[in-house]
Symmetry: C2
DNA sequence: CTGAAAGCGCTTACAG
DNA sequence: CTGAAAGCGCTTACAG
């Protein structure tokens, strides 16, 4: 005869059990194929945990970075039953200093786990070192740093996504040149967009010979309307017929096309922002490459939860799907359901 | 003072409570923003339910219909904690009588809910009538019958999927005619494939003028190898340059292309069967339109569970996404993770 | 109509 | 090292 307390001790490797009784219990557990009831377990244990998220601050509700938060909140509200709390922190995409100060706040909180976007490489690495010292597990979302000791990465393979963009634009473009546009600054730090561009260029260098010449430009600041005229000049001067926007800001090109009547352009961009969908439906944008940011937020919280609270295995590095969205299938991607 | 038992009675509308105490309790519940702990609730209630599934029998592990079962089993194993049981029934896709006999077995079981594929329209309608008489809720998977009193439909909008196929094939086909192939029999009954064909034809009639002539053929029986020669003749006689296969059997066309050296054909088909992926990677099939059957199975069980056991609202008619899969993004769709 | 008690399958101190 | 008891937040008979 053994008591339930002793059984629990071997079940959770809490020690203080004689080797002989331990083996006897283990044997019985195996014989009975015992499956712990996780409902009863979490109810009784009253475990709780605090997680922190550190993501770019979305300037408005229609921005990309608003979307992961939707999924994060969904999973949090489900997990509130488990006594889970999540503290959100944000930083500015244009200001590495804001990342440093926010990440310091996270460290001060001493959370049980962190979900964050390693947007600025150098600053992220320093943050990671501190997390490791404190043995706080972390999950990357949206962009990744390889072999940094993360619990996992939730996001796309950006290089591969660039290849996909290249192939699709190549298919619908009989002739003419192509302009890649980064609506961003600090490009060297934004690994993400660089990888997309790299995949895109590689498609053409490997598959398309010299049918199209490729050009690249950056638009670091759209508040100054001068950029429109500049890009328009490039389009005309270089015989541009196709445009690849490396992030969710492709709606700026939609506006440019409508303003200057450049509807002959073939355009590919990213992400299901409301305005982007509008241009897709008007046949001004032809493809949107998407990545279900709500699902990613949901998965990221779920991953850290499973690891920290449930102590379950979670597979490393699951790339998200690279969704090809066109006018005819967009309606079946808009909704987030889980 | 009120006892916890009384509170429970008003919480679940089990009556036997004086109107005055009832109102008092309701008020307090609202004041405290009381949220029931569903862990404790299901643990204590020991509710249980039996569901039935009725799906086509997959002849082998590499067939399409094996996939929804993977998702179904995943959700079942998670729900086993809740005392849920699922009894699987199958029928033959080529034999309506087998559907009738299996559906009769389902009815005899008197399950608390049913997930099924209304593959044969007439036979399904009779089954549905019996389910309604018995007040057994049911969810459609894969194909649907409109306004039949279902709790919901998990699957694609087939017509829209056909439109997508049409557009994509049109984009990569400069000239030549197109052959639509149904690897199926009893076509009039299989609403599903007919809808895909309809969408496909509509794309060309509305968008592409007379660039391509469209032909359609059926291959009801692939065990007789004669079909290959027949289809090859059609391809040559009709100047066919593009092929649209309306279901997951596009690998048969892959085999035909390799056998007769028809690599110039542009091919579009459905679903991530192993052999299909192989042809996609060899550039013999150019697009696969997909629908995440594992997720669909998972969702279907989840939907009936939420309705029957948790008594929660579940939105009706959520079409699944229409995934466009090419060689470059296929690796990010193969895995089922949840 | 209302209250008090037992129990769901676990975990967590605590006494020995 | 081991066992017995209390409790997690509910539900479910049952006594009054």
């Amino acid at each position: 005869m053994v008591s339930i307390g002793t059984v629990d001790r071997v079940l959770h490797n809490r020690g203080e059990v004689a080797e002989s009784t331990r083996n006897r219990i283990l044997g019985i557990i195996k014989d009975l194929d015992y499956q712990p009831n996780f409902l009863a377990s979490t109810l009784a244990s009253k475990k709780s945990a605090v997680f922190a998220t550190l993501l770019p601050k979305p300037p408005s509700a229609h921005e990309y970075w608003y979307k992961p938060v939707v999924g994060i909140n969904k999973r949090i509200s489900e997990l509130s039953q488990y006594g889970i709390e999540v503290k959100p922190f944000t930083f500015s995409q244009t200001d590495p200093l804001s990342f440093i100060s926010a990440s310091n706040q996270v460290l001060k909180l001493l959370p049980d786990g962190v979900v964050f976007a390693p947007f600025f490489k150098k600053e992220s690495e320093s943050f990671i070192n501190h997390l490791k010292e404190l043995s706080i597990p972390f999950v990357f979302i949206d962009s990744e740093i390889k072999n940094a000791g993360q619990l996992g990465y939730i996001g796309q393979n950006s290089y591969q996504s660039g290849l996909v963009s290249g192939k699709l634009l190549d298919q619908i473009l009989r002739e003419g040149n192509i302009l890649t546009i980064h609506f961003a600054r600090e490009m060297d730090n934004q690994n993400h967009l660089v990888q997309r561009e790299k995949g895109f260029y590689d498609w053409f260098s490997k598959n398309s010979g010299d049918n199209h010449k490729l050009y690249t430009t950056e638009v670091p600041d759209t508040t100054d309307p001068e950029w429109m005229e500049r890009v328009r000049q490039t389009i005309l001067d270089k015989n541009i017929k196709g445009i690849f926007v490396t992030n969710s800001k492709v709606f700026f090109i939609g506006r440019l096309i409508e303003k200057f009547g450049l509807q002959y352009l073939k355009v590919i961009g990213h992400d299901l922002l409301k305005e982007n969908i509008g241009y897709l439906k008007k046949d001004i944008v032809h493809f949107l490459i998407c990545q279900r940011p709500e699902e990613q937020g949901y998965s990221a919280i779920n991953k850290i939860f499973r690891h920290v609270v449930q102590k379950r295995e979670t597979g490393n590095e699951n790339y998200s799907s690279i969704d090809i969205v066109i006018k005819e299938n967009v309606d079946y991607y808009k909704e987030f359901k889980q």
